[in-house]
């Protein structure tokens, strides 16, 4: 038993802001200034582009945002959500609707980044972020209200259903009761650039967008940490620990769970809008079930409930998925003179990683300090029952 209980679990810690700023600034400097620099040895330039191209970093950051949102639902409140991709889709289509020429018959401009004569709805990116967040939060509540009455496995099944339904609606959205809401499989192509005052950031301004994505991620981390330490975060944790006891202690289960859905969905919406600007369009086929599982794997691999673990997990998995494995494959094939199609083994690798994690490091790469406690110790009760002294 611990003798001096130090308050290292709940106290606030702002040190991360410094570390995060340094890391973000460094990444930004590398991709914005160092890479285009003439004097950079071509070897380094090639290596960076091969192993860590700017597009891959930005895409990873989008995954980080999504995983942070899912972490609030799964890691904080302990609700298994297998349909999180729905919020990614809704966020993406918010960008498609409000930041493109999709509604060509309209001409609405609101601090947009395109010339005033362009048709369609063009709302400022920063506002669309907020709109996308709130639309997703609304859908989170709408989906959650009927489903959250279910427990564990049943909840997971129903979320799975919603995760299929919503992307399918968009996939077949060319004729949604007579309206075209998504352009179907053709997708909504070309979303507006991001206005940052002095210039507009198009699809190829990777460096600056990296900075913006880092900023958005920081915001989500900030919100996660703050909420976690507050009244709502405690209630989530209590529900994760013991739902029945929580309700007996005056925690309204439905409201609290809905709040976690709404906040998680909000983050999903932000990620969705960011992703739309990253790929410069919204494509229905990208929002599939595998993404939901992929995000869940990120949260589990990194360490449920710990934002830093989740960020690490999301970064690693999306990097392996997007660029890492194919880069390694071509590297290996060149050296060995073989012709192995490495990217086709992606899911084999993920499966293997998850199995190994479950066997040897169930708590994730960077576990939440609380969980470390349970998962690392041997079964105390068992040890005590047979008279062994627990370490």
């Amino acid at each position: 038993m611990a003798k001096t209980p130090a308050n290292n679990v709940t106290k606030s810690n702002r040190k991360w802001v410094i570390g995060y700023s340094i890391a973000g600034g460094l990444l930004f400097a590398i991709y914005q200034f160092l890479l285009p620099w003439e004097g950079l040895p071509i070897g380094i330039y090639d290596a960076v582009y091969r192993w860590m191209p700017p597009a891959a970093v930005n895409e990873s950051l989008v995954y980080v945002m999504m995983a942070l949102g899912l972490n609030i639902v799964v890691g904080y409140a302990g609700l298994l959500d297998l349909g999180y991709v729905a919020f990614w889709a809704i966020g993406g289509y918010c960008a498609g609707w409000f930041m493109s020429e999709f509604f060509y018959f309209l001409n609405v401009h609101f601090f947009g980044s395109v010339p005033a004569e362009a048709p369609g709805i063009h709302i400022n990116f920063w506002m669309v972020l907020v709109i996308g967040g709130f639309v997703c939060a609304l859908f989170g509540v709408l989906i959650g209200a009927p489903t959250l009455r279910l427990k564990s496995d049943y909840l997971a099944l129903v979320t799975l259903g919603f995760g299929e339904i919503i992307p399918q609606v968009f996939f077949n959205g060319e004729n949604f009761f007579g309206f075209n809401i998504s352009n179907g499989t053709k997708g909504i192509v070309v979303v507006d650039p991001i206005p940052v005052g002095v210039k507009n950031l198009g699809p190829f301004d990777y460096g600056w967008k990296l900075l913006i994505f880092m900023l958005l991620t920081a915001l989500l981390v900030f919100v996660s940490l703050r909420l976690r330490r507050g009244r709502l975060g405690r209630a989530w944790l209590a529900i994760r620990e013991d739902e029945l006891a929580a309700s007996m202690m005056g925690v309204p289960l439905m409201r609290t769970k809905l709040a976690s859905y709404a906040v998680g969905a909000f983050a999903g919406g932000v990620g969705g809008v960011a992703f739309a600007t990253h790929v410069n369009g919204v494509y229905a086929e990208r929002f599939n079930f595998a993404i939901s599982i992929f995000l869940l794997a990120m949260v589990v691999l990194g360490g449920m409930g710990n934002v830093w673990g989740v960020i690490l997990g999301a970064f690693i998995l999306s990097w392996v998925n997007g660029n890492g494995l194919s880069a390694f494959g071509s590297f290996y094939n060149e050296r060995m003179g073989t012709d192995v199609d490495f990217p086709s083994f992606t899911f084999l690798l993920f499966g293997l990683v998850l199995i190994l994690m479950m066997l040897f490091r169930r708590e994730g790469l960077l576990p939440e300090s609380r969980l470390k406690l349970v998962l690392n110790e041997e079964e105390i009760e068992d040890a005590e029952a047979v008279g062994k002294k627990a370490k």
Binding site: M1, A2, P5, A6, N7, N8, V9, T10, F222, V223, R226, L227, G230, R231, L232, G233, R234, A235, L237, A238, E241, D242, L244, A245, A246, S247, M248, M249, G250, V251, P252, L253, A259, V263, R370, L371, L373, V374
Partner: protein, 258 residues
């Protein structure tokens, strides 16, 4: 003397089993009343009805002048009926302090935005809640474990923490489900003193389910005996001790079941 809680004609049916059969029960203000009976008599079921976990198939519960029969559990808790559990159900991976703060949930007001922005009001509220939690922890004699995880506490301290957590709800009625289970006689004695102190200093009424007759007899003002879902006796400890039906049902049964 008025009652803080009155349950009338409570019945609970599980399929074909009548777990509680039209039981009347009231809890007078600032008192300690006990509910005893052999295993399976329906004591915990009755507790679960009072706290809203089960809805009674018949009967009504009146608390503090209003009908709470159909309220959801968290509303009942919020209104001031707190409980502990037969098998400890703390939030194991939360610190002692956090356990109490969760119970204060319904009394705190901070919402999502004020928590994210950490408005002065939210900070003040948190600080006050923490102080109140500390005060209750001290009262329960576990003030030194504020930042220790609940699961790391010793068995006795976990029992105390459960009571402390219930107190954080600022209850008028406290339901204790076998609070001295697994305690030795000394610990039980300490607990009896604690219960007396609670009633005197905190203006709380206590309802107790207990198997330890020594505890029951010394602390209760009134004892109600359940057997197979029915109330078979009610009275002061002395009356119960000498009640033939109780001796037959309770002690007789205890012989062959334990």
């Amino acid at each position: 003397m008025s009652n803080v809680l009155e349950a009338k004609g409570i019945s609970v049916q599980f399929g074909g089993l009548l777990a509680v059969n039209s039981v009347d029960f009231d809890i007078p203000k600032q008192s300690v009343v006990s509910l005893i009976g052999p295993n399976g008599a329906g004591k915990t079921t009755f507790f679960n009805v009072l706290t809203g976990l089960y809805k009674p198939s018949a009967g009504s519960i009146n608390y503090d002048g209003r009908d709470i029969t159909d309220l959801p559990p968290h509303k009942i808790a919020e209104s001031g009926i707190a409980r502990t559990f037969q098998n400890i159900r703390l939030f194991g991976l939360m610190t002692a302090q956090e356990n109490l703060l969760v119970a204060m949930h319904s009394h705190l007001k901070a919402g999502i935005t004020s928590t994210i922005l950490r408005t002065p009001k939210q900070r003040r509220e948190e600080r006050e809640a923490e102080e109140r939690a500390q005060e209750i922890l001290e009262f329960a004699g576990i003030g030194k474990w504020t930042h220790e995880f609940a699961r790391n506490l010793s068995y006795g301290d976990q029992r105390r923490l459960e009571v402390a957590r219930a107190l954080a709800l600022q209850p008028k009625v406290l339901l204790l489900d076998e609070p001295t289970a697994g305690m030795n006689p000394q610990e039980s004695q300490v607990f009896i003193d604690f219960v007396r102190r609670l009633v005197k200093e905190r203006d709380i009424s206590i309802m107790l389910i207990e198997h330890d007759m020594k505890v029951v007899m010394s602390v209760s003002e009134r004892i109600t005996v359940l057997d197979q879902g029915e109330k078979i006796a009610e009275g002061t400890p002395d009356q119960i001790k000498n009640n033939a039906r109780v001796v037959e049902a309770y002690l007789g049964k205890a012989k062959d079941s334990k």
